[in-house]
């Protein structure tokens, strides 16, 4: 880890000193050593604060949408492979210019589930990391200006690992049972929109829920309105969500939102062969079409 941190800090320092960027967003140790927090560095002298370990769960790309961050112009950001896909998507969707961002990619071996970390877990294993890490295809970020390699070995995956196994279970259920499942989940929703706030790709300055002519979503907290919000969120993120899992982590009532996001991602891949966040020059799946697209459900 020390080697990694040295490289991270040096890179950050150089970038700030050379004025190539005005701000670096990274991770720093919090008061609890097993919880990492985000840190915003403008002074090269503070670069030593930056650090990385298996507790760096947050997707820092979420800050790139904030006006108070945007005003810095050229920004450097520390990203894991999964989070970097968010950066790609932001570039793809014109929310960020490639010229204005320096991507400091870190090779990530997996992030430890925060609830376990809070109980003192500190080792990266199949049983301690998030589901997204088990299915991770981007331990090394796809796009970066600087790469900080991990000095940890990759953890072993043994047996038949099925991340998000619940999806298959849901798929196998009857419609009524799925309805029951989600009704229970969405009943809990308090429409706090934390899922939206935590999402690096929910960057609209005026969200559709805030539009009242027409009222797309019931504002009060009742079942159909809750479901409607969750529906719209899922629909707006399908083909875009890069699976960082921040929405689910942010949800105060523990709705398993990644089961929705991941399902849509699989669906889009199955139907259109598209995976989000891989290529800044790719046409987004719902920004284009193919004359031979899936047509079977249409009479």
């Amino acid at each position: 880890m020390e080697k990694m941190n040295d490289k991270l800090q040096n890179t950050a320092k150089e970038l700030l000193e050379s004025k190539e960027v005005n701000l670096i967003i990274g991770f720093a140790k919090g008061s609890n050593p097993l919880r990492m927090r985000s840190v915003f560095i403008t002074d090269p002298k503070d670069a030593y604060k930056i650090s990385f370990n298996a507790h760096c769960v947050q997707d820092l790309a979420v800050f790139l949408k904030k006006p108070e961050v945007k005003k810095f112009g050229k920004i450097g950001i520390v990203v894991k492979g999964c989070d970097e896909k968010a950066v790609n998507t932001l570039i793809q969707e014109y929310q960020l210019s490639r010229d204005n961002i320096k991507i400091i990619g870190v090779e990530c071996r997996g992030a430890i589930k925060q609830n376990l970390a809070d109980r003192g877990e500190d080792s990266v294993k199949q049983s301690t990391v998030y589901d997204k890490c088990l299915a991770c295809e981007v331990h090394t970020p796809l796009l970066y200006d600087y790469l900080v390699e991990s000095d940890e070995p990759a953890f072993e995956i043994t047996g038949d690992v099925k991340p998000y196994a619940k999806i298959e279970e849901l798929d196998a259920m009857s419609v009524e049972d799925r309805n029951m499942f989600w009704q229970k989940e969405f009943e809990k929703c308090i429409k706090c929109y934390a899922c939206r706030q935590a999402c690096p790709l929910c960057y609209c300055t005026r969200c559709i829920v805030e539009k009242n002519t027409p009222q797309w979503i019931e504002t009060n907290i009742e079942e159909t309105g809750n479901a409607q919000w969750n529906m719209i969120r899922a629909y707006h993120l399908s083909g875009r969500c890069i699976g960082c899992g921040e929405c689910e982590r942010a949800c105060p009532v523990n709705i398993p939102l990644m089961l929705v996001n991941e399902k849509m991602a699989r669906d889009v891949f199955e139907k259109f062969g598209y995976k989000s966040g891989l290529d800044i020059n790719a046409k987004p799946v719902f920004g284009t079409f193919d004359a031979n697209d899936f047509n079977e459900f249409i009479k």
Binding site: Q183, F186, V268, A291
Partner: protein
Amino acid sequence: MENNRVEEDDKNAQNDKGNLSGSGSAKEKEPRIIAFVCNWCTYNGADLAGTSRMKYAENVRVIKLPCTGRIDPLFVVEAFKKGAKGVLVSGCHPGDCHYTSGNYHSRRKYTAFRDLLSYFGVDTNRVEFSWISASEGNKWVSVINDFTNKIKSLPDSSDIFSKQ
């Protein structure tokens, strides 16, 4: 602020609801079906069914839009929320879109949207999609009749968008 005038009318409309429901008198044994159709192909196909005096089930209410590309999947959710038992989306056949590609874009979105509906426990038998050209009056009739029969055969829905 943009629409005071209308909001006011709406309130009145709600108050008067009981009085003016022409359809209300049938006490809604008949399921309501909303059809979102494009102006160029399906709407004309339905017109053709009319001029040919073909007969079909009365349950459908057509909402005309310029193109399937304009038919937002979220309209479907809204229709369910407002009590529709079935929703039909229909437009020009692939390759025939008046606006070149509206139906292609729409098809992609509905492919994903339909799966999402089903995943959330909505019976996808309640949403129907069809390509009906301006010359397919007979297809319009059979799609409407088949869909109406299908909807009638389904149990009362209790999915997350239909609960009142």
